[in-house]
Symmetry: C2
Subunit: 185 residues, 2 copies
């Protein structure tokens, strides 16, 4: 089965490669400018839908998967940091605390699609300012929602998770595997 | 800092490589034949201690880490499967169910050491016999406690976890990172 992954994230590609599908990557390049939302779930659902529609219009006969991931902590939504100070602020907020990671997914073929969300809870140990600074010397933080990568060197700061690990990386793998079954030919 | 990893598991080596340490691998090659235990925790603690003492005796001046991991489901301890039938039996028990993964750790230098345990809970989706058979065609299952690898193609069957993801892989990374701090020179 061919799956069009409408995402430029190399992590999402790695995750889908765990499934037995042929993958083609496409960058839908839409503005992530949803303003009309009440919850993080609604935000990621609408953004994934926007990416999904743009990708489906290019690949109307193929299975399309798009996604959007944000971190929500203390009532704030954290996306990708804009610079090092912003990344420091985010990690300072996340350490010694718990937060939720929401991934909204668009999965469909032609005009038939599902738009669903998966959330995982992540607990991060307390970190000294030196540990945060040291982490921000690496390139890992800067292109990720919440300014950290669970699968990278940040892993040592993660106390525990409740939910799908791959959802924290950017795609809820087991949900996607189940939903892809109906497109198997 | 040099760390001696007393384990032949390539997964444990990968996990420790996420830390900023120099690694040397040693295979303590002890019999995992602990009979005197009441709980899975006690079993992995004693086995990790046995591996730890054997490794420490070879490297008395270095930081040594050893570990043992088992899966506990429905009151049974699952170690590595002995053959394909055994692996099938294990996965049949784990699917559509939850289980605990226990990793016992020995971490020390010379005669000073800690012996601690970390547990994670894993929920696996329901799997058809065909899905189990298909999985057992791959080499992934056969050298792992409980007959599955959370980080491999089995990932698509994992609904959620509660705890440290790396503990399920074989080493509780964040606990080890914290405990290694006192040996930093």
């Amino acid at each position: 089965m061919l799956v069009i992954l409408g995402s430029k994230s190399p992590r999402r590609k790695e995750i889908l490669e765990l499934l037995d599908v042929d993958l083609q990557v496409y960058n839908p390049n839409v503005l992530e400018d949803i303003k009309d939302f009440k919850t993080p779930s609604e935000y990621v659902l609408k953004t994934a839908l926007k990416k999904g529609i743009a990708t489906k219009n290019q690949f109307p006969f193929d299975v399309v998967i798009c996604a959007d991931t944000v971190v929500a902590c203390d009532g704030q939504i954290l996306e990708k940091p804009i610079d090092k100070d912003d990344a420091f602020r985010m990690i300072k907020m996340l350490q010694n605390n718990s937060h939720y990671v929401y991934t909204g997914v668009y999965l469909g073929k032609g005009n038939e699609y599902e738009n669903f969300v998966c959330s995982s809870k992540v607990y991060i140990n307390s970190m000294s300012d030196e540990e945060i600074e040291e982490y921000l010397q690496t390139p890992e933080a800067y292109d990720k929602a919440g300014a950290y990568a669970i699968q990278g060197i940040f892993a040592k700061f993660i106390d525990r998770i409740e939910g799908d690990y791959y959802n924290v990386m950017g795609l809820p793998l087991s949900m996607i595997y189940q939903k892809l079954k109906k497109y198997k030919s």
